[in-house]
Symmetry: C2
Subunit: 543 residues, 2 copies
Amino acid sequence: MINFETSPAEYRHWKLDVDGPIATLSMDVQEDATLFDGYKLKLNSYDLGVDIELADAVQRLRFEHPEVQVVRVTSLKPRIFCAGANIYMLGTSPHAFKVNFCKFTNETRCAIEDASAHSGQRYVAALNGTASGGGYELAIACDEIYLVDDGNSAVSLPEVPLLGVLPGTGGLTRLVDKRKVRRDRADVFSTLAEGLKGKRAREWGLIDDYFPTSKFQEAVASRLRAIVEADGEKKALRGIKLNPLQVEEGADGRDYKYVSLKLNREKRYADLTVRAPEGKTPTSIEEIEKLGDTYWPLQAYRELDDALLHLRINELETGLVCLRTVGDIDEVLAIDKTLAANKDHWLTREIILNMARVLRRLDLTAKSFFALIEPGSCFAGNLLELALSADRTYMLNDPETKVEIATSELNRDAFPMSNGLTRLQSRFLAHPEKAVEVFNHDCRFDTEEAEDAGLVTFAPDDLDWEDEVRVAIEERTSLSPDALTGMEASLRFAGPETLDTKIYGRLTAWQNWIFQRPNAVGPEGALTNYGKPTQPHFDYKRT
Amino acid sequence: MINFETSPAEYRHWKLDVDGPIATLSMDVQEDATLFDGYKLKLNSYDLGVDIELADAVQRLRFEHPEVQVVRVTSLKPRIFCAGANIYMLGTSPHAFKVNFCKFTNETRCAIEDASAHSGQRYVAALNGTASGGGYELAIACDEIYLVDDGNSAVSLPEVPLLGVLPGTGGLTRLVDKRKVRRDRADVFSTLAEGLKGKRAREWGLIDDYFPTSKFQEAVASRLRAIVEADGEKKALRGIKLNPLQVEEGADGRDYKYVSLKLNREKRYADLTVRAPEGKTPTSIEEIEKLGDTYWPLQAYRELDDALLHLRINELETGLVCLRTVGDIDEVLAIDKTLAANKDHWLTREIILNMARVLRRLDLTAKSFFALIEPGSCFAGNLLELALSADRTYMLNDPETKVEIATSELNRDAFPMSNGLTRLQSRFLAHPEKAVEVFNHDCRFDTEEAEDAGLVTFAPDDLDWEDEVRVAIEERTSLSPDALTGMEASLRFAGPETLDTKIYGRLTAWQNWIFQRPNAVGPEGALTNYGKPTQPHFDYKRT
């Protein structure tokens, strides 16, 4: 079972140093510290274990080191920055693992861009050696890229010419859409195994600048200082500690403090329940800072994130997740009120941004989601987003029992989807006025009001509820899991497209397709044959 | 070999009737008139042969019947509009054919939307019976959808629940992005094999209205008349005839009047050459109307279109197309000047729109394109778009010989790509001012000027030219064809996304992925097992 929790003291592949406003994330991959047997992580190549540490570091920089204004990403290996995802690991992994691996690494790179855009932590790639494949894709997720000019070091995307697959971590999309490299040059670069060095790389927009070896460290340091200066001095912020999550692992589930995951493995679905806080929650920043990572919206969403990652990678046969909530709507709304009132404070801002990222992780999870709204549930404010994320929502219509959902200020704009819209905007693309009307209504909706407002899919009464939900679950889990994945990827993200949706929609789909092609993964495919004395053989039919 | 040319007199599956401003396209598929053996086209299901006729009809309506303001799409079979793509045909087709089939049918549906948006020919789907799968996808490509309410007829997308594949012709995208159906309802609809009938279908936005059998024909007719009335009377336009293309087919190529396709099969690349008109071309509408389909910009682009389709479906192993032009730049610019001066006349408008569609067909072709600009070539104006469409452009730099390219007014906005941008805008996303500067320059560029302006990728001198081009061709054709397809799909369409790019990028890529999955096409897959007494068996791992 793969564990997604780690901390700097446990890192085997990265070093995180913080020096006032400047942090340095140094890659120094231990060849033998792999997640699976059968490959060595040479030349700073990575597997999922390496990326779990990177994701952890990016997350900790935001919560534990809010004083940091710029992060240098570099390597401790001489002449090599990073050789990208390990080819032997990819070559020996099953299809589903490859796909999940790429998705997680993509989310880590999007988290870097999220930190830069919203947390005032800029990322600078200091390429002290060659950055190839996923190595260059990591660089291109940073705001600026500097390359050493040592006569040898280059940036490259050798996947197409060497491996017969795509750069799978957003490289092609960022090339033309983020750095806006001219498409014919992007074509040349992406088919040139050896890549490009300093001068031409800068001319083509692949890097921002290059410096000779003797001046490289100082030139980068000077650029980091300039970014800090231009940013202005931050107030002396003191971070909070992210402690390990406490989780009770059972044979058929995981129990955290606020989140429970119950696996119905035989029926291939899971119940994922989030519990509201109980009792009084803090209203002042001072109290929140004191609670730190035990503050409900941080702890509950960290637990939810961990549960989602666990479901994705360790529970492949689970096709459907029933989202449930338990607790008092008022308590959830009180949390949102406090968050909204303090949204300009760095800590509450980070807590909200993290909730938004976890919700996007849910949107991007290749499982079906049904939200089940029953008496005692609390789909309110931030937890209403779970229902709005779901592929379908069932809400009990029972005149005898109060069943309600509720909105909060945070549903207005705090949790953008990957397409840049709120979930209410996405839902009401045809009728934007309905997204507005929702907020003109008193914040609580009983079942009929929720149905009228278009917030739920079905509202069975108490006689039908049990059967209807059971049949829906049975039907869903009987369908082809692949067709559902493609269908959900198409239906969840209507409206505008962004760099993120292009990466998770278009690029990922093409890569998944190629990851199945005999030309890549067949016995004579390029990925299979990499590093072997045999040559790949292609079926040259163009498709 | 599949032939893409047809005409109404040869149709076996469609009837085209024109009654003043109202045309009727009636589907009446002949079960036995299939393109291949092994299946019957029951219930108005279709194969590529049926769609070639539809594409021809849509094209002819624009050129031969410009007086038509609204097109009714209906069926002559009782109780069935169209059952979609034939499942047995799909189940027995190789992967590459399935992909090419879907791409062509997608282009036909986009051509319907193009006619509605730009040619003033609205499309109304008159569903006199059930429209399922590709049948409903054809309906949703129309502007309006009316369904008979006979107690039985429904609209449906049963691909996911019945076949384990996606609706492959834009259905999912148009559901949420064109008709903006709420995503949870789209989820329910797309997993409900039997679909939805009148009332709920209208409530959910799947159709515009429904009428009882006794009133159906009259209600639709009345809606057609209303569209014509609202549109206002068109001048009495007289169309031109689209005659069959004259093509000489040889063992290693095809020669049309203005287009030649030469296949170098052993080396897996083709030379595709377009020749400029020779001598005086007309400048007045009267002369153009007299020339009709022999007018160069219409004939040359019809020939180019046919050659591209031929390459796609009949020459699968050709991975690279070298685009060449031969002729006098002045002659090409004279054509563009005439077209630009008369762009508001219906015929020149249609000619320009057709050129734009053919160029988009080129953008969407899964082959690499290199443009080769040599002495005697005429990459000017509309033909410059070929160079701008190419993945790379090589222009000879020879001080002894004049080599030039040139722009015309038509490069400004006449030929939008699928992403809505011109090819110059797409090329210069990072520097929009460069797209403007190109037009401030005198229209002709020699090699150095073209390179400075960013219009070509490489400009080898005459000593290097032959080797550099030869090596580039050899390298390109040695790479994995699948990786190239995914790479090109990612690099060609930077910038904004549209319904079209979503269909050809995201949806197509997911469908291609699913079309390879054992759950669909394996011995126990749903597509393979359709109609057999055996049940499909799924590997339920979610990916």
